[in-house]
């Protein structure tokens, strides 16, 4: 019993690490634009499909696939930013969100037209057997995912707190108006942050696809839902909060899957969000 609990906790942390990468990208975009980008997951899906295409035609190695995945996601992200967020920067948040949903449909259909089968194999990150540590099973993929999440967080912190771009981005997050008045180009900062968030998303997509060794059309909705859930659980708009929310989501899912099965696992995750929003502390819902 205790052993299972520990093993589930390990698995949950591994899943949480992948959610953290997704949630951090989501939070960056929300923090700077105050807009929800529903196309975030589909852009990641397009990146992974582009990488799969390159893999199928040229048999390229993992490093090349990772680069293709990140680049394609950034391109898709830039397309979304130009069409859904740049025009609505001063306008309606609802219009921007619905526009990003419209592009979700578009990106998803484009990916499916390129690779119409329901499932494609993706090269695995690691072919050997999982590690055995004191009786627990630890997948190498999980360690890579955790390492990547930590690395991304450190790099992100450095970018936000130690570079000129970071100063500009944080001032836009605090007050777009004040930033604009002090000569910062809000449009360019938004573009930059979008590219950064998309790159993180692309990396997350690559690592997720390479550890489950497949891509399916569900990846887009899955990434958007998990990223949104983790971001909301963490109290919306704070980067450390997003990481905490992602780990909580991973742990809750792993334990409820073990005790209650996969359907109730998802139910519990949504229930947690609903209860937190409905009766949670006020600071969580007033940002």
């Amino acid at each position: 019993m205790l052993f299972d609990l520990m093993q589930n906790t390990l698995d949950g942390l591994a899943a949480g690490a992948s959610y953290a990468l997704l949630a951090v990208g989501f939070t960056l975009i929300f923090g700077v634009l105050r807009r929800v980008n529903l196309s975030y997951g589909p852009a990641i899906m397009l990146g992974c499909y582009a990488a799969t295409l390159v893999h199928l035609h040229f048999g390229a190695g993992l490093l090349v696939l990772a680069i293709v995945c990140v680049l394609a996601t950034v391109l898709a992200g830039a397309f979304v930013e130009r069409l859904c967020f740049a025009p609505h920067r001063r306008g309606s948040a609802i219009a921007a969100m619905v526009a990003s949903f419209a592009l979700w449909m578009q990106l998803e259909e484009a990916a499916i037209l390129a690779l119409p089968k329901h499932l494609y194999a993706f090269p695995g990150l690691y072919e050997g057997a999982p590690l055995e540590v004191a009786g627990f099973t630890v997948r190498i993929e999980a360690l890579v995912m955790l390492g990547a999440a930590v690395l991304v967080c450190v790099l992100l912190w450095w970018t936000l707190y130690r570079t000129r771009f970071g100063v500009a981005a944080r001032s836009v997050i605090d007050s777009p108006l004040a930033a604009e008045l002090s000569g910062i180009s809000v449009g360019r900062v938004s573009m930059g942050v979008f590219a950064l968030a998309s790159a993180i998303g692309g990396l997350a997509g690559f690592l997720i696809s390479a550890s489950v060794e497949q891509v399916t059309p569900m990846l887009g909705m899955w990434s958007t839902l998990k990223g949104l859930l983790a971001m909301m659980l963490g109290g919306l708009g704070s980067l450390p909060g997003a990481v905490v929310g992602a780990l909580v989501l991973g742990l809750v899912e792993a334990h409820s899957q073990w005790f209650l099965g996969p359907q109730l696992r998802d139910f519990i995750a949504f229930l947690l969000l609903f209860v937190l929003l409905a009766i949670g502390p006020r600071w969580m819902t007033t940002r």
Partner: protein
């Protein structure tokens, strides 16, 4: 009319109810990602009442509307204090819980040697009231559109009355509306209940048109579509959401011309449209212009 045209028109009518449901909440200033849940509640409860318990469809539809309103109140009561995105996410969470609830629902009764009822992820088959009672597809289409016309007429009358002004006022400036003596929370609860009942009504008719529903029918895709319908069609009049449905289901799906590229065309069109008309084609200004022009 050939069968295909009847099918397309029926679908436009069915999803029209859902689009109007999302539209009413948008007018009250709330963006719900969860109207598909009430559509699903209507589909499941209405289907169960006719197929499993032998109720006539009209009675089942009334009961399902009541259930839809009740479910909507249960979601709205704890979440209406939330603003904007938080409300949207809370409704999304509730709707996904409902969808998983449908997946977990296993309840079948034996009727004439056949097991009938929801079978979890396998879906819910044999909702055959319409077929068994000899209602032709054309007649069913007429019933759907008559009902929809009644709803549209009711909302048009409401918009002319004081209630319509209150609705838009609550949506645009809740503080001002409260200062003018409107009990904003109670008003929004009422709107949520009506919107839930409308979605459930659409759901009942949908289940009896398809004779088969499954939990996947009521996922977030449907919810965001209904929001998009209201928003692209326009928030200026109740014809807006209907126009949104017609553009998607009629023009794109119905014409068969964009086969395989429908979402690429639709998605690009919507995103571009929202750049120029962030409150939809039939927004308030357009409606005022049309009224001056034709009155």
């Amino acid at each position: 009319m050939d069968d295909y045209a009847v099918g397309v028109l029926t679908n436009i009518g069915l999803f029209g109810f859902l689009a109007i449901s999302a539209y009413l909440l948008l007018l009250a200033g709330e963006m719900s990602f969860g109207q598909q849940a009430f559509f699903g509640v209507g589909a499941y409860s209405g289907g169960m009442l006719t197929a499993m318990f032998g109720w006539p469809l009209p009675l089942a539809a009334i009961a399902a509307m009541g259930l839809g309103a009740l479910a909507a109140l249960m979601v709205a009561l704890p979440t209406l204090r939330l603003r904007g995105l938080y409300f949207a996410m809370a409704t999304l969470a509730a709707a996904e819980m409902a969808r998983i609830g449908f997946e977990l629902l296993h309840w079948q009764v034996e009727i004439e040697g056949e097991k009938i009822g929801p079978e979890g992820t396998q879906g819910f088959r044999s909702i055959r009231w319409v077929f068994e009672n000899g209602v032709e597809p054309g007649a069913y289409l007429a019933i759907i559109w008559l009902m929809l016309a009644a709803v549209v007429a009711a909302i048009l009358a409401l918009e002319r009355a004081r209630l319509g002004a209150t609705l838009r006022g609550v949506g645009e400036d809740p503080e001002l509306a409260a200062a003018l003596g409107v009990d904003v929370t109670r008003f929004k609860l009422g709107v949520a209940a009506v919107a839930g009942a409308l979605a459930a009504f659409g759901g009942v008719l949908y289940a009896h048109h398809n004779t088969y529903v499954e939990p996947r029918n009521f996922d977030i895709m449907l919810g965001v579509h209904s929001l998009a319908y209201a928003l692209i069609g326009g928030l200026g009049t109740v014809f807006g959401p209907l126009l949104g449905v017609i553009v998607d289901l009629g023009l794109l799906e119905g014409s068969r011309f964009f086969q395989g590229y429908r979402m690429i065309v639709f998605g690009g069109l919507v995103a571009l449209l929202l750049v120029f008309r962030p409150r939809g084609l039939l927004d308030e200004r357009m409606v005022r212009w049309l009224k001056q022009r034709f009155s």
